[in-house]
Subunit: 307 residues, 2 copies
Amino acid sequence: MINKLIQKIEQSKAPIVVGLDPMLSYIPEHVKEKAFQEKGETLAGAAEAIWQFNKAIVDATWDIIPAVKPQIAMYEQFGIEGMIAFKKTVDYCKEKDLVVIGDIKRGDIGSTSAAYATAHLGKVKVGNNSFYGFDEDFATVNPYFGSDGVDPFIEVCKEEKKGLFILVKTSNPSSGEFQDQLIDGKPLYELVGEKVAEWGEKCMGDQYSYIGAVVGATYPKMGKILRKIMPKTYILVPGYGAQGGKGKDLVHYFNKDGLGAIVNSSRGIIAAYKQAEYEKFGPTAYADASRQAVIDMREDIMGALSK
Amino acid sequence: MINKLIQKIEQSKAPIVVGLDPMLSYIPEHVKEKAFQEKGETLAGAAEAIWQFNKAIVDATWDIIPAVKPQIAMYEQFGIEGMIAFKKTVDYCKEKDLVVIGDIKRGDIGSTSAAYATAHLGKVKVGNNSFYGFDEDFATVNPYFGSDGVDPFIEVCKEEKKGLFILVKTSNPSSGEFQDQLIDGKPLYELVGEKVAEWGEKCMGDQYSYIGAVVGATYPKMGKILRKIMPKTYILVPGYGAQGGKGKDLVHYFNKDGLGAIVNSSRGIIAAYKQAEYEKFGPTAYADASRQAVIDMREDIMGALSK
């Protein structure tokens, strides 16, 4: 799957992933009204609004992006109905041949991580049959449990030819509280980065490992160091745009081959029509605003990389 | 909710939580057969088997235990159908007035943690209405993101009078890989424990904080130290029984008031009928075997505490 992701990045010339993290407040009134008319001001109505919103954005961007990253929390908050909208979104994006990164940040002791890996990447056996649960292509994983919490995810990735992005240095302001603590003079995130590189060696695609890392756009100096520590690791970079990162800050997340990183933007793309820059599209053409925001983001990043 | 948990522990004299982590392999053949006859060898069939299995165990134990802890991964692996079985289990246990600890180990950047907190502890607004998503009483939380990943959970707990158990030292063999790393001579788990105590001060119940900690039964020396670092923190202790912990190892997880810890057992109780000790019950009386395992576990722990 890492080979497919790289191939799609090279084709689209867009090392970009669209974060499908729909808050109800991002969704234009006319979309919500229609969904509420059909299903009421209920969890089912909210889930319908999210799904219609996502579908329009995917329809307007799928041909110029390699991947999407639905954040499962945004769906989980609407209970079962929200989870159904998550699954519909995953399936629809796969129909469009997009690579789907399930942003699930799971992680637990071995037997429980095995269940999460089955849920999101693998198949579960029921009697004589097997079924995929949510069936994303990649999943994000929390490393706090150490190797035996990560290994079951790696096992399923090997079977299914899928991949992971393991949290190394997260984009949020307080990520340093634990992640930056020095251990023999070296911050914890570097130690985690070394482990990710080690885990990744067991799982190589053609050029890069199936086992990627998450490093926030908001910490570019650390990104530069982590790039060197994990040379064969694809880096998923959240925090672009709304969280503060810009293309010029991100050049060191990439390798000299122009590969090695994929940058996420969520709000900046899916709620583009709410920003001054894209106001002219108006709420009815919100998906066109999203397409334009993808094009501008691609130019910002590719422009910075070509310098 | 911490007050209710303590009250129920005192009433039942059982500082015990039953881990409702049903693997299909734990479920007796006759339960699976019935479910598969009704719904086929499908995800819906598996979910039905899990639900019927859970229900019988809850019916056989609810009057002698204070709390249950469903592990969401075990449900998530069966996709949407599994999530429906999770929600049914949560609702049924609450009908039985059990305290429900959602073992979800979520955690993310602030806005995403807020969505997870809403999903599992709070209410989501849809138009003019509000709805609970999964509506557990407590949730387990991963601290890797630091304060701003935990704060949104604390906010919802304050509004809803609910609680958390934050991972400090996990029970698995490789937990030390990152958690035991020394920072200025002090292991990371102690640093996290200090933070949990600090977060907990903002959220006090009558005697203990709403903000608890997870410390594995498999590391009793560390448990003793963490007890002192977090004197007002309730400790959720996984790893009893199947993972190796015994009552005598756990006395130092408790305070002198006999409170301060609640010990989880999953496999040891829900799959008791598969162990030599409870074989005499046979698969048809699996729920009675579970009840006996609860009684034996209570004796083991209370016996150790009374010494």
